[in-house]
């Protein structure tokens, strides 16, 4: 699914990370931990195909197989949840998109507000919608950067359950709270 060997990333003279090896197959769960500024986000952007490594070998699956959730939920705030998910379902050519969108909105508690603009939502609700966008096209490789950010207890539990259901996929999660998903991890990468 994903193979990275000897990956390094620099911004000018600043070394972000060096000689990182990652190999993920379906069913693997990589937990990335480390303090702020240690390079977790940059590594995840590289593993999602959003940034190029400075050196090293990287083999990624096709874009339609990758799902990425960054620090922002990556949804348009002026649009409604329905409009956001319809846009991305169209770009990802999601089959039976109406049912899929409805199921995700129901599951993450956004069905009742599906026609309200996202800008009226709390940050936690926006994060739930970001998770819906992430899961919309049923990606085989999921890259999640601090996915529990802004989620309330109920939202975090929903995400816990979702991550457990995704056991057959390859998952990369960066978090400050390794206890939350540590039991799912099959591999760990700790940045100093």
């Amino acid at each position: 699914m994903l193979t990275a060997s000897n990956l390094s990333k620099r911004f000018g003279d600043k070394r972000v990370f060096e000689r990182v090896d990652v190999s993920l197959a379906a069913g693997d769960f990589l937990l990335v931990t480390g303090p702020n500024g240690s390079g977790k986000t940059t590594l995840l952007r590289v593993l999602a195909g959003l940034a190029a490594p400075t050196s090293g070998e990287l083999q990624l699956p096709a874009r339609e197989l990758v799902g990425y959730l960054g620090h922002e939920p990556l949804v348009y705030r002026e649009l409604t949840p329905l409009e956001n998910l319809q846009l991305f379902a169209s770009l990802y050519r999601v089959p039976e998109r109406g049912e899929r969108i409805g199921m995700l909105l129901e599951r993450f508690g956004l069905w009742e507000v599906r026609r309200q603009r996202v800008q009226t939502f709390s940050r936690g609700m926006q994060q739930r919608l970001g998770i819906c966008r992430l899961l919309l096209h049923d990606p085989q490789l999921l890259v999640l950067d601090e996915p529990f950010n802004a989620l309330d207890a109920a939202g975090a539990e929903l995400l816990d359950g979702t991550l457990e259901e995704l056991a057959a996929r390859a998952v990369v999660v960066a978090t400050h709270d390794p206890d939350r998903v540590g039991h799912l991890a099959t591999e760990r990468l700790a940045f100093a």
């Binding site: 959003l50 874009r63 339609e64 050519r93």
Partner: protein, 212 residues
């Protein structure tokens, strides 16, 4: 067909965003009307029609620049370029859809600006209208590409005019040339500019938005 379905979906999104936010088009309208009003008061009576046409083109280019500055604001402020770049569609669809949206905004501003120019100075002929239409295509094609380049940089408000205005000089040359009566040659020049720079922008957009 999928390519055009993606373009339609993305352009529809951009038009919907403007319909909701109502930021870009009103700003462009106010700007172009204010510029024409200022030009009206700073030009002495008896100024030749050809000179005022130059002022019209100045107002239109800077109005377009204003629209282009706003073109990638949602993607920049909400990090959405990542989501669009990751989607499995041809990345040039992002450029084409954004160009179509900016073209629609600019066209709307010009629907008001050209009659206002007629009111302040004198009416414009069909050559000017044709030149404006052709110039809009080139401006939006090149401007959207440079707008995407500027989004990636830090001093984006500085970078966009510095990248866009030199590339818009041929558009102004062609537009003014067509407006002042050398008609078909300059219209042909504008059409050629649209074709060449449209193709270049379409082909290079992928490299502008993707690091990998």
């Amino acid at each position: 067909m999928r390519y055009f379905a993606d373009v339609v979906a993305l352009a529809r999104k951009d038009l919907l965003l403007e319909l909701r936010a109502k930021e870009t088009v009103p700003a462009m309208l106010l700007f172009v009307l204010a510029a024409l009003t200022i030009f009206h008061f700073v030009t002495p009576g008896g100024t030749k029609h050809v000179a005022t046409l130059g002022l019209l083109w100045t107002a239109l280019v800077f109005t377009a620049l204003l629209g282009l500055t706003r073109a990638f604001v949602p993607e920049r402020e909400q990090g959405l370029m990542d989501a669009l770049v990751l989607a499995p569609c041809d990345r040039s669809t992002i450029w084409l859809a954004k160009s179509i949206a900016v073209l629609a905004f600019l066209g709307l501003a010009e629907v008001i600006a050209l009659p206002a120019f007629g009111l302040f100075f004198s009416g414009v002929g069909w050559e000017t209208v044709a030149a404006v239409a052709l110039a809009d295509v080139g401006i939006c094609a090149v401007g959207t590409l440079t707008g995407a380049m500027a989004v990636a940089g830090r001093a984006r408000e500085l970078i966009l005019p510095l990248l866009f205005l030199p590339l818009a000089i041929p558009v102004v040359v062609g537009g003014v040339g067509a407006s002042v009566g050398a008609g078909s040659h300059y219209l042909g020049f504008l059409a050629l500019y649209d074709a060449i720079f449209g193709l270049l922008a379409w082909a290079t957009f992928e490299f502008v938005v993707s690091e990998t």
